[in-house]
Symmetry: C2
């Protein structure tokens, strides 16, 4: 167990918090529920951004930027939307401070806004108000726009990365001529998210649709990817919404179609946030610290020299320089930690805590023998290996680590996904062996709500690849045609 | 003159606004003074970000993210800082809306914040409050952090890109053990900005220091880069501040130095914003539209086919495919506009308006002759040239265009920078031949203020490369040892 980090079996929630803080990822700020993303944490966000941004562009999207502040009246135009977000909005009411004459800085009541402005919790309203000016004809469609931005939802119970009042995210907002095209876009972006989660984050996800209860406020259909954390709780890692014509109607966005008829435009929106970093940590890490998949690790390889005398270090450094060059040529990020203020053991602990996938240690004996010591973070195994061909070996090891981390998470999920057919077993599983529970449900919001009230478990999704199967609702015994995925969730 | 764009000689300000709107760069939003950056404008910001971010990382900086909202009390801790920003702050006072029972969404007065929160106009206060927790010893220094973020300054008179209530920027905030090191950082970042302006934006800049009047609120010294726009007004394109120990003292940030003594930390901050896009447009564009330097142009080359029959287009397309491959291999961005909904002439006008540096037009006769028509946006010249070796020719032409745009701006500035020695001539020049005026000044804030009141001209900077020279103040006749740079400014 790493210094200052509690064991995850003892207190999972505290373990997560300790990890985030001790690994220098993030910390709370003095502003309620807002976090400071420190350079190490932010560099993971930069990697996530770079990969996703490339995927968005490859699927034809461009970035744009819309205002932070939304007039209250816009925000209220789509009824279910405002119901969903009004309870957690930061409201700007004034635009000036002043000195009260006694040296106190106070709000200047003369600078009160005529209409209050809301800090965006999401941007559908301001964007659809804008699209009204961009769209006249089918020739103006589709509009495929994404925005990287900060958003704010005033949260009472917050948790670093997973639920903070301000967070960073991307929000795609697209406009289409037909429902089919919008649905295809919604599904395409869900697949992009799933691809990213599995192939970059090493995080297996279930693709599915939300029930009406769990839908985005204003959507006709919400698709999601759901992942399982090591404590058996689910985490929604991304959502993609088919918004139908709701926002087009609220903002009067119409177009002339090819048949010269006027119609409302069809919409989608889709987003992932800094929450992904929380998922990444929770899914793979252990009591010794972070375990990062190599494809998203800010430092993929760290090299630690072990020496007493300067000549020894010089000798090691000369070799490391050439190794670094070879690794960089392969696109592998490497750090040579030659600080003389820290002992090797303390460096080992630091990089273990920070989840660096591979550690290379080199001493004078290694230099004589033409070897290094290579340590894997994921398996905690060490081996002595030849300097010759090391760069190539590191390259394939990183790939192996990426695959191994995925496999471990995949196996964990398989072990913790259970088909359950009785209410007693359902409750017992949630308490004693939490995980994904695949169970029959009668399809009503009432039953879903009752299950949530009694067990805190929600329907995470109706998996897209569900097979049709006769069964009885776990709570009411009414007939059901498919299983859905339940879990307690973050 | 392009459709919908007024001539810049007729109304420079309107010309700029027309250009921004017609070229699809940006538009105003319904929120006072806030803008919507459209995909074409945002793609230039993405290029600016990518280049600058690389430069920041090459000089040892990392990115991080700090909260959008700053408690009012923090904001007030540094006296001159709050004086500088209090008059233009957006203030958050509530965190919830509610339905008033009659279907109106109103602010919930029960959700009033105990302490108002300010939307960051700049982040020194929240960052230095954070650094207090990060710094104990000289071993924790320097801290070299940058943030890409949105900020808000409530402006009464706004102009797209140049002055908007919300804008995007980067703000570097560094912490150092000594004043010398902090000053060296301040100067280094000024040089990074100048390098970027000149070598990427093709914008010649004067590096200098601000007078006490024009300094950043809370700085001991403000360095800046100043550029000259085509209407003879100056534009401050970037600033780098030596903050001394002001913020460290306000937030009690101390460290133990190598001699085991406790000292306050030394600070810098530096930033550039989406204003750079305004500068880019204003500096180079003409009545036909944008003129973009190739290194920042989202599309560097556009290819327009000229044809009547599908077979002709097929023939042209086959050639363009191979040309595109060659250009992409050279890192040149190219768009093949084969839309059949627009005529070639309308496409030509569109890309002229959008400032695409090079246009290639290809018809069937060209295909027979093995030629293309090549048109330069900067010089508006056309030539017929061989298809053979075209990619290489385009590559060197883009470089030539970049240099030519810079040279044009450089020559313009040289022609419009004048040494003036009398007050009458000073006033006459400002009205009749506006530009940079190099003149003697007695060094007092009073004189500077009087000149500003009488002429609206300000001291843009005291150039770093100033030679010492005896002279008399242009207004008061008092002795002066150097010329400073005056202009009316954006």
């Amino acid at each position: 167990m790493s210094k200052g980090v509690i064991s995850k079996d003892e207190d999972y929630s505290q373990w997560f918090n300790d990890l985030v803080i001790k690994s220098d990822m993030a910390e709370y700020s003095p502003v309620r529920g807002c976090m400071i993303i420190k350079p190490y944490g932010y560099s993971i966000w930069e990697k996530i951004q770079a990969v996703l941004d490339g995927m968005f562009k490859d699927t034809g999207h461009s970035n744009a930027y819309f205002p932070l502040l939304i007039p209250k009246s816009f925000f209220s135009k789509e009824a279910s939307h405002v119901d969903g977000f009004a309870k957690e909005c930061a409201v700007v009411t004034h635009y000036r401070l002043k000195n009260d004459g006694e040296g106190n800085i106070i709000v200047d009541e003369e600078a009160k806004l005529e209409e209050e402005l809301i800090i965006r919790p999401t941007s559908e309203t301001i964007i659809w108000n804008t699209y009204k000016g961009w769209i006249q004809s089918y020739r103006d469609l589709p509009i495929l726009v994404n925005q990287w931005a900060n958003v704010m939802r005033w949260e009472m119970r917050t948790r670093l990365f997973l639920r903070t009042s301000e967070f960073l995210w991307q929000e795609g907002h697209t406009a289409h001529a037909t429902a089919d095209e919008a649905i295809a876009e919604t599904e395409q972006m869900l697949n992009v998210y799933a691809d990213f989660a599995e192939n970059w984050m090493a995080l297996p996800v279930v693709k599915g649709r939300k029930t009406a209860n769990e839908r985005f406020a204003g959507a006709l259909d919400t698709y999601c990817i759901e992942a399982l954390m090591q404590d058996g709780k689910a985490l929604q890692a991304g959502t993609s919404h088919f918004l139908g014509q709701n926002f087009a109607k609220a903002f009067d966005v119409k177009f002339t179609n090819k048949e010269n008829k006027i119609e409302h435009v069809w919409a989608t929106s889709w987003g992932v946030s800094t929450r992904l970093i929380g998922a990444l940590i929770m899914a793979h890490s252990d009591d010794a610290g972070l375990v990062l998949p190599p494809k998203l690790a800010p430092i993929q390889v760290v090299v630690v020299p072990i020496y007493k005398h300067q000549e020894e270090l010089d000798n090691i450094s000369a070799y490391v320089d050439s190794l670094k060059k070879e690794l960089k040529a392969k696109g592998i990020s490497v750090k040579f930690d030659n600080r003389d203020t820290h002992r090797p053991g303390s460096k080992f602990a630091e990089y273990e805590l920070k989840g660096v996938p591979l550690r290379v240690a080199i001493g004078s004996r290694d230099m004589q023998n033409g070897t290094v010591e290579l340590a894997r973070r994921d398996t905690k195994t060490k081996e002595t290996t030849a300097q010759e061909g090391l760069a190539g070996k590191i390259e394939s090891l990183l790939e192996e680590i990426q695959n191994n981390i995925y496999k471990k998470a995949f196996d964990f999920r398989a072990e913790n996904t259970t088909e359950v057919d009785t209410w007693d077993e359902f409750k017992r599983m949630l308490d004693e062996e939490p995980g994904f529970i695949s169970a029959h449900w009668d399809g009503t919001s009432e039953t879903e709500q009752k299950i949530k009230e009694e067990t805190k478990a929600t329907i995470r999704c109706i998996p897209l690849d569900n097979k049709q199967e006769e069964g009885k609702c776990i709570l009411t015994g009414k007939p059901s045609t498919q299983r859905v995925l339940f879990a307690r969730a973050y």
